[in-house]
């Protein structure tokens, strides 16, 4: 058996993989938060609840309609994204002229309502969601056994994160989006329908959260609190990375997941707090965040 720093190799790599998976969720969620914040100037506190809705949507699709994992991976984000668009149109759009803090308070209230309703309907014990047959089992990588589903989650997250990055940084739509983030009235003067762009951005960010939720469904049990457990850490990730850069959110998310995984191996007592400790260090040395722009 390989030993690294006195730790058995398989244990170290196993925790690293778990860290990478958590990091994948941090990356997808903080990416969505950053995109929404850039466009709407709102911190979407309901992001965790919408992530949870994504997981529930995939469970419902399977349980009520018999629709399997792979179609759900596309359908659930579409459904929850449509719900997000409805929210933006009816409620959130009323707040753009107010202090940003009201957006935080509103979406916090929204997350309480969504989670409360799901807890009433499904209890808080959690529902099982089976890993699809094709992704079951483990693969021998030589130095460790990797459960195929976990590898798939990391791969899917990397692909979706970089596609989002590419859409925003490399396409015409992304260029319009970035321009509207910088100066909305000017972009509107060029004939772009900025309110619709804002609605689509919110829907896109929400769909991203729901996609993460579907990926999470087979790993964590599907329960109403699954989003809240993540989102508090994701806020720390956002503070560490700063919300200025898309690539920054992705890198910070993955990196912090790995740090957390390593901490579980070397000093398990601190693994729940290590992200917050990193945040404290970043605040002391670089208050704007690692990738933040000077405001």
């Amino acid at each position: 058996m390989i030993m690294i720093f006195g730790i058995p190799g398989p244990l170290l790599f196993g925790q690293l993989l778990l860290g990478l998976i958590n990091g994948a969720f941090y990356a997808m969620l903080s990416l969505g938060l950053a995109v929404i914040f850039g466009m709407l100037n709102i911190i979407n506190f309901a992001h965790g609840a919408l992530f949870m809705m994504g997981a529930f949507a995939s469970w419902m699709l399977l349980d009520y309609a018999g629709i399997g994992y792979f179609p759900a991976l596309i359908l659930a984000p579409l459904l929850v994204g449509a719900f997000g668009i409805l929210l933006e149109k009816t409620i959130i759009s009323r707040l753009y002229k107010l202090d940003h803090l009201y957006g935080l308070l509103l979406t916090f209230g929204l997350s309480l309502v969504i989670e409360g309703l799901f807890r009433n309907a499904y209890g808080s014990s959690g529902l099982p969601y089976r890993i699809p047959a094709i992704l079951q089992g483990a693969m021998n990588l030589g130095f460790m056994y990797m459960p195929i589903y976990r590898g798939w989650v990391v791969l899917a997250a990397v692909v979706i994160c970089f596609s989002t990055w590419a859409i925003i940084e490399k396409t015409t739509l992304g260029a319009t989006l970035r321009a509207a983030t910088e100066n909305a009235p000017l972009v509107q003067a060029f004939g772009v329908n900025v309110p619709r762009l804002i609605t689509l951005t919110y829907g896109g960010g929400v769909a991203l959260a729901a996609f993460a939720g579907v990926l999470a469904a087979p790993i964590y049990s599907v329960n109403p609190n699954m989003g809240t457990n993540f989102i508090n850490t994701v806020f720390a990730v956002v503070v560490i990375g700063g919300m200025g850069s898309i690539l920054g959110s992705i890198v910070t998310g993955f990196a912090l997941g790995v740090v957390e995984g390593l901490c579980k191996v070397f000093y398990p007592q601190a693994s729940a707090t290590v992200v917050f400790v990193v945040m404290v260090i970043v605040l002391l040395t670089r208050p704007r965040g690692l990738f933040g722009k000077a405001a």
Partner: protein
């Protein structure tokens, strides 16, 4: 002497009369819960209403105050007044360190940083041996106040809690109406200008934060004494959310808003407790209604109707 206007003096008188009369009409333990929540909300209101910083982590100070007061009562058998004092000092001490980090950013980042730091405190409380983990510190004796007043009687306890609340309420009001409070308001309105006038705005914000956390710690300590228990719920982020709700519903930046909000929210929780998660749903709905249509809060709307500042 406390800078009350005429209308505020009348309102303060009404509040005092209600505090004195209500234990003969309503259940004192329920009223004590309202008063603790009200004191906590007054502390929170000091930050959001007068410094303009939304702390989403005030449960950390409330909860640690509660833990330390409960622990000193149970293990050291100190006087009740000392236990509450320990709670307040814990809040202030923790507030100094967390505030030092959080005031480096403002606005939305301040809210996220305080939330994250409070989450760190929560995980600390979950792991630390002295908090009793999931069980919390239970069966804390109420003991004696100043060595002579026996607190085991609910009515006696009520008068002590009421005194703590009124003292805290007046302290907050005095802070706001001091020259220091005027500078805080100046910073809230226009920070660069306050800086250009030579004020070290970060120091002022930090002092305000520490004072707010101190009062929150005292509220937590008093709560631990009343119910004889300190648990993880007190440091959980839902408690932070609740104090935001209480203050928002009562009226951000109003003098009497936090007390009014505490009365309404605590009553609601009391009556809805049997319906499980509907409490959460109702809280969320109130949040949304307040933000969308009712941003001045109950007291703010009453004040606006009579064109007075309450």
């Amino acid at each position: 002497m406390f800078g009350f206007s005429r209308a505020q003096t009348i309102a303060f008188g009404v509040m005092l009369v209600l505090i004195v009369v209500s234990p003969y009409v309503l259940y004192p333990v329920f009223l004590m819960r309202v008063l603790c929540a009200a004191l906590f909300a007054c502390a929170f209101n000091l930050m959001i209403g007068y410094v303009g910083l939304l702390s989403f982590g005030h449960a950390a100070f409330f909860g640690m105050g509660s833990y330390v007061a409960a622990w000193t009562m149970k293990v050291w058998h100190v006087d009740a007044s000392i236990a509450i004092l320990f709670g307040a000092m814990t809040g202030a001490f923790l507030g100094f360190f967390l505030g030092y980090l959080a005031i480096r950013r403002s606005g939305i980042y301040f809210a996220m940083i305080t939330l994250a730091l409070a989450q760190m405190v929560y995980f600390f409380c979950l792991e630390a041996p002295f908090t009793g983990g999931e069980d919390g510190i239970q069966q804390v004796p109420r003991g004696f106040m100043f060595g002579v007043i026996d607190l085991s009687n609910d009515m006696t306890m009520y008068w002590v809690v009421a005194s703590v609340f009124v003292a805290g309420f007046l302290l907050v009001h005095r802070i706001i109406h001091s020259p220091f409070g005027q500078i805080l308001k100046g910073i809230r309105e226009n920070e660069p200008r306050a800086t250009s006038l030579g004020y070290r705005t970060d120091d002022y914000k930090l002092i305000a934060f520490v004072l707010s956390c101190m009062i929150a710690g005292a509220a937590g300590g008093t709560k631990a004494l009343v119910f004889g228990i300190a648990t993880l719920t007190d440091v959980h982020y839902s408690t932070s959310g609740e104090v935001v709700l209480v203050t928002l519903l009562g009226g951000l930046g109003t003098v009497f808003g936090p007390a009014m909000g505490a009365l309404v929210v605590t009553s609601m929780e009391n009556y809805l407790a049997q319906f499980g998660a509907w409490v959460t749903v109702t809280q969320g709905v109130i949040f949304m209604i307040c933000v969308l249509a009712f941003r001045r809060g109950i007291i703010g709307e009453i004040g606006a109707f009579f064109k007075i500042s309450l």
